[in-house]
Amino acid sequence: MSLPKSRGPSPQPSPRGRGGQSAPNPYCLLAELTYRCPLQCPYCSNPLELNRFRNELGTAVWQRVLGEAARLGVVQVHFTGGEPLVRHDLTDLVRTARQLDLYSHLSTSAIGADHTKLSSLRDVGLDALQIGLQDSRPHENDWLAGAPAFEKKRQAVESAKRLEFPVTLNVVLHRHNLDHVDEVVDLACRWNVDKLELAHVQYGGWAFRNRAALLPTENQVERATEVVADARDRVSDKLEIIHVLPDYFQQFPKACLHGWGRVFLTVAPDGAVLPCQTAREIPGLVFPNVKETSLEEIWFRAPVFQRFRGTNWMPEPCRSCDRREIDFGGCRCQAFLLTGDVAATDPVCHLAPQHGVVEEALKEAANRSTDLQFRVFAS
């Protein structure tokens, strides 16, 4: 799944770790069960070298990890991927989460989410569903997804609502669907979902490779922002709309995951524990594995979690900036991708010394159209 980086509960004011550690306890576990996925979205946030990660954790290890997460203070778990429904033990894992009183979400492409499956997940205690949609138009949706998926999504939403799940429809926005955003809102109303999350592509992973073909124009962004603001007023009684603006067009970066090692932790399909889903793009970081080390040990003591926690690591202008506890200097993966320096100010920030690279990318995208490359999981 392509998970918008700003999602999630807001952290509470400086909760203290057990045993007096100064780091806050995490709230949210992203359990990436697999990178396998029947779809091929060209903006997928999964790693480029998918085949390196075939070695998926087994059921018992995941169950232990869920227990460790609950004891560490995790309240919500997002079962995500790839497509979590390709795992045959998903029902067992959701059941375990419920037994631990964890609040569980499933992020799905809807492939495999038929009524029987959703109903069995409901029975074992799944709490909420997020269904990804590529476009409001069936044909375009299926082109972007690389598979006939639209109708399955419609049916999955219908089943989910019948089962009384809270349903969020996630639409990742980019040049090819941004002009349909009004249709997306209408469709979300028709499908009777509770929430529509419109998040622009985050340019890491496949999306970075496809950046020139995905970046919208400034006009498109302006128009879409107006359309969404109008729609929000119009439908406020039946649909909540979250619009995560594209950071390339903003003055300031996003508070990536509410700060490094602060609220979220990700366990990847092979058991690596990451501060952020895309942190593997940063060379030189060493990620501990749940097969060898407990989550608690990793969260509080692994160097990779300490590395960008708090504000001590920051360069200028962040170090003396008023916003350093608001956006935490932006996204580390983006800083690395765009500047080669993982500890640089996120160049999306207009105060960043290297902001020029973002302006150039926008110019380049405005001037040429490039073909999309689709994610393929060779099997």
Binding site: G8, P9, S10, Q12, P15, R18, N25, Y27, R71, L72, G73, V75, Q76, D101, Y103, H105, D127, A128, E164, F165, P166, T168, D194, K195
Partner: protein, 99 residues
């Protein structure tokens, strides 16, 4: 927004759950977007929202605490939770044996 007294049988909305957070020593309502932290008295009310009538919630609380009139507090909290979409009216009373 619903006026307070439209809630006759308060029950947490689908997707919202009461949770005792052992690590942070907090009462919470957990819902898809995050958590709402409850104080002791709010938690006592929320735990009674199982589909029984609002009057029952009030009288049980009054009996538990020995306070004379809690109806204002209860209505205010139910109203706030309903506005946040965390509470709704249940069609039927709780199944026997629950609560």
């Amino acid at each position: 927004m619903k006026p307070t007294h439209s809630i006759n049988r308060p029950r947490l909305a689908p997707g919202a759950r009461y949770h005792w957070d052992e690590v942070r020593q907090q009462h919470q309502i957990v819902f898809p977007e995050g958590v709402l932290i409850l104080n002791e008295s709010a938690a006592a009310i929320v735990r009674l929202c199982d589909g029984r009538s609002t009057e029952d919630v009030i009288s049980v609380l009054q009996a538990q605490t020995g306070e004379a009139d809690l109806s204002g507090d209860v209505h205010e909290l139910l109203d706030r939770l309903a506005q946040k979409g965390l509470l709704r009216d249940s069609q039927s009373p709780p199944p026997p044996g629950e609560g």
